[in-house]
């Protein structure tokens, strides 16, 4: 009866819902959580475990019910939440939390080792290596498989002052001090170097690439700048002024979202051109047989697609829009003319 219903809840999230085993994990953590703090207010504990106070009280009542019948009946856990304050008088064998599973130790250790590679986190490297050592120690044998997963971060940190700290470290200083920065920034889509003042907000590291998020005073909008495209960087003696209504980008929703104003570009790719589908977010990818693909990309600016088509050569071609294919053809013809071939 129970196994099936419990299984149905799997994967629906932690805390509020979840399976009996998820809840058991929480109960086993709850007792030591309180024991280690002497007493905890209901609201604080509920927040720490990501559940409502009502659910928390239900959990506490369940713990209170623990009972062993043989050889002699007794209740090993004694707790109270009178006046909204949780205290545990007797917790016996579950006063300490359960050790970390391989997955749990790995998730944290892999993330910590990645953080240690981030250019802007130089100042925290010491704290990082201490936490890594402590966690490895606490996890014991469960820590070992974590070395078989790694997330690389772009090693090239962008320009800083010669011999001085890299762009990441400079930008973190600027963010901490609330200072405006001046960037020389290369835009590959337009093959342009741009100069702009930016009020820095945060550094984001998404899938191994480091970005500065900031209020661009030229665009008068929140913009992302890839650190490896910053060719020159100066921290200005001017306080940053990020407008109050500047919305930070919701990293968890994805950095780049299509807009209605985007142009749809259809490409046909040979088997050797399939990398395009891995490399760029595609609206659709269709197999055409024999390893060939048709992909549709959406972009606010088609200039980079011209560059892509020139790079693809015989690995792929633009099908639509026809004007874009024509523009690429003209690009190639003009370039060939420079070689005396037209």
């Amino acid at each position: 009866m129970t196994a099936k219903t419990a299984g149905g809840g799997r994967g629906t999230g932690r805390g509020a819902s979840g399976t009996s085993t998820d809840r058991l994990a929480r109960l086993l953590a709850l007792v030591p959580y309180v024991v280690n703090r002497d007493s905890v207010m209901l609201g604080e504990a509920a927040a720490a475990f990501g559940i409502s106070e009502k659910q928390l009280i239900d959990d506490l009542n369940l713990l209170w019910c623990v009972e062993l019948r043989a050889p002699d009946p007794y209740c090993p856990i004694d707790l109270s939440y009178e006046g909204g304050e949780i205290t545990v008088a007797e917790a016996e064998s579950i006063a300490r939390p359960l050790r970390l599973k391989v997955d749990e130790a790995s998730a944290l250790l892999v993330a910590l080792r990645m953080l240690a590679d981030i250019p802007g986190l130089d100042g925290d490297r010491d704290a990082l290596s201490r936490v890594i050592a402590k966690l490895e120690g606490a996890a014991g044998a469960a820590a070992a498989p974590s070395s078989q997963v790694a997330v690389e971060v772009d090693a090239w940190a962008g320009a800083g002052r010669a011999g001085g700290p890299g762009a990441g470290a400079l930008l973190r200083e600027a963010i901490a001090a609330g200072r405006r920065v001046h960037l020389s920034y290369y835009v590959p889509a337009r093959d342009e170097n741009t100069e702009r003042d930016v009020d820095p907000m945060r550094l984001l590291v998404v899938d191994g690439t480091t970005y500065l998020e900031g209020w661009c005073r030229r665009a008068e909008a929140v913009r992302l700048f890839k650190l490896d495209r910053i060719t020159d960087l100066a921290v200005l003696d001017v306080p940053a002024q990020v407008p109050a209504d500047a919305e930070p980008i919701d990293v968890d929703a994805g950095l780049f979202r299509p807009s209605d104003a985007d142009v749809r570009v259809t490409l046909e790719l040979t088997p050797r051109g399939r990398w395009v589908a891995d490399h760029y977010p595609c609206e659709s990818v269709d197999e055409l047989g024999e390893g060939r693909l048709r992909v549709v990309l959406r972009t606010p600016d088609t200039r980079w697609v011209r560059g892509l088509a020139l790079r693809l050569g015989d690995q792929g071609r633009i099908v639509e829009p026809a004007e874009l294919a024509g523009a690429v053809r003209d690009d190639a013809a003009r370039a060939l003319a420079r070689y005396g071939l037209a």
């Binding site: 009866m1 129970t2 219903t5 809840g9 979840g18 009996s20 085993t21 809840r23 086993l28 953590a29 007792v31 703090r37 720490a48 019948r69 043989a70 064998s93 579950i94 359960l98 050790r99 749990e104 790995s106 998730a107 944290l108 953080l115 981030i118 986190l121 925290d124 704290a127 201490r130 936490v131 120690g137 070395s147 997963v149 790694a150 997330v151 690389e152 973190r172 290369y186 093959d191 550094l203 984001l204 998404v206 899938d207 191994g208 060719t231 968890d252 399939r274 024999e290 390893g291 088509a309 020139l310 693809l312 050569g313 053809r329 190639a332 003009r334 370039a335 060939l336 070689y339 071939l341």
Partner: protein, 329 residues
């Protein structure tokens, strides 16, 4: 979710932690409320419960002690020293970076595992909510469909099989792999290991795996060779490194900004409106398409093989992107 089941499992854990000797199934049935009378129903329920405890990572020890009440019958216990998380004390700066690490994973199994770990560390007394703003938000997406299956295979040292559509291949092929590690580079996931079909080290990109990754052997049968560093394995392939060569190019003034970032000896060319510069490259097949991307803002003067490769590249662009009438010109 069944409250009764949670309650029974909780009682079971407390009971097995409290005992120093091994308890037989029958002793457990009598001590822990919630089990039915002895019989098939109890056996099945107890089997499932043991499985659930193991899934939670609870170390269930099986054995027998003749001195205990169980005689030589098989019994169970949870040794507290194997169950308990050792003491962890973190300073505020350590707690701050730990909190940051717990937020790194987006989606899927790794995100859940990270919050599970954080829960236990909080229970051990660690305060992860230090309020210290680190000013940096790292995220890693492990939402690739094949990721979870491959990580579990690596963790359990288990061979796998999958269909793989390689670049330049006209169809997907079945591959058999002893996975050694999973690595992300530039936001893309790769699995490295011993390819059983080719009998050598291989790297596969997760996004090119078609369909499910399935186990292809029992757990514990993959051995990662001593000294293998998965990152090295995945990327520092000992490809024959071709020598770096200089290329002389013309760059249109004020344009071709990309190559200018790497160029040396940039000087005005004889022709007005152009600069001459030197770029270094290794691989013509990679470099020619990169240069072609700058169209008529860049002209290769030397070496001849690079110049020819760029011309060839531009000709195929011209042929491919025509509207039919001009194709093949």
């Amino acid at each position: 979710m069944s409250r009764r089941k949670t309650e029974r499992l909780l009682n079971l854990v407390v009971c097995l932690l409290a005992t120093r000797r091994y308890l037989t199934a029958e002793q457990i049935r009598r001590a822990v409320p919630g089990y039915p009378d002895a019989g098939e129903a109890f056996k099945r329920m107890f089997e499932r419960d043991k499985e659930e405890l193991r899934e939670l990572g609870i170390p269930l020890e099986v054995g027998s002690d003749l001195d205990g009440g169980g005689g030589d019958e098989i019994g169970y216990r949870i040794p507290p020293q194997d169950y308990e998380l050792p003491d962890v004390h973190l300073t505020p700066d350590e707690a701050a970076v730990l909190g940051l690490a717990a937020r790194v994973w987006q989606r899927a199994s790794m995100a859940e595992a990270a919050s599970g770990a954080l829960l236990k560390l909080r229970a051990a007394g660690v305060e992860t909510d230090s309020g210290t703003a680190v000013g940096i938000e790292p995220r890693v997406d492990a939402g690739e469909p094949a990721f979870t299956a491959l990580w579990e295979a690596v963790r359990d040292r288990r061979p796998v099989a999958f269909s793989y559509q390689g670049i330049g291949r006209t169809s997907a092929a079945r591959r058999h792999l002893e996975p050694w590690g999973v690595v992300s580079r530039r936001g893309r996931w790769y699995v490295a290991g011993h390819d059983r079909d080719r009998d050598e080290e291989r790297v596969f990109r997760l996004s090119r795996i078609v369909g499910e990754v399935v186990p292809d052997g029992p757990p514990g049968t993959v051995t990662v060779p001593e000294g293998v560093d998965v990152r090295r394995l995945a990327f520092d392939r000992s490809e024959p490194v071709t020598e770096r060569r200089p290329a002389t190019v013309l760059l249109r003034s004020g344009a071709a900004q990309g190559p200018r970032r790497w160029a040396r000896d940039v000087r005005p060319a004889r022709e007005e409106g152009w600069d001459e510069a030197v770029l270094t490259f290794r691989d013509v097949d990679w470099f020619a398409p990169y240069l072609a991307r700058f169209a008529d803002d860049l002209v290769v003067l030397d070496p001849p093989d690079l110049r020819e490769a760029v011309i060839h590249q531009l000709k195929s662009v011209l042929a491919g992107n025509g509207d039919g009438e001009g194709a093949g010109r």
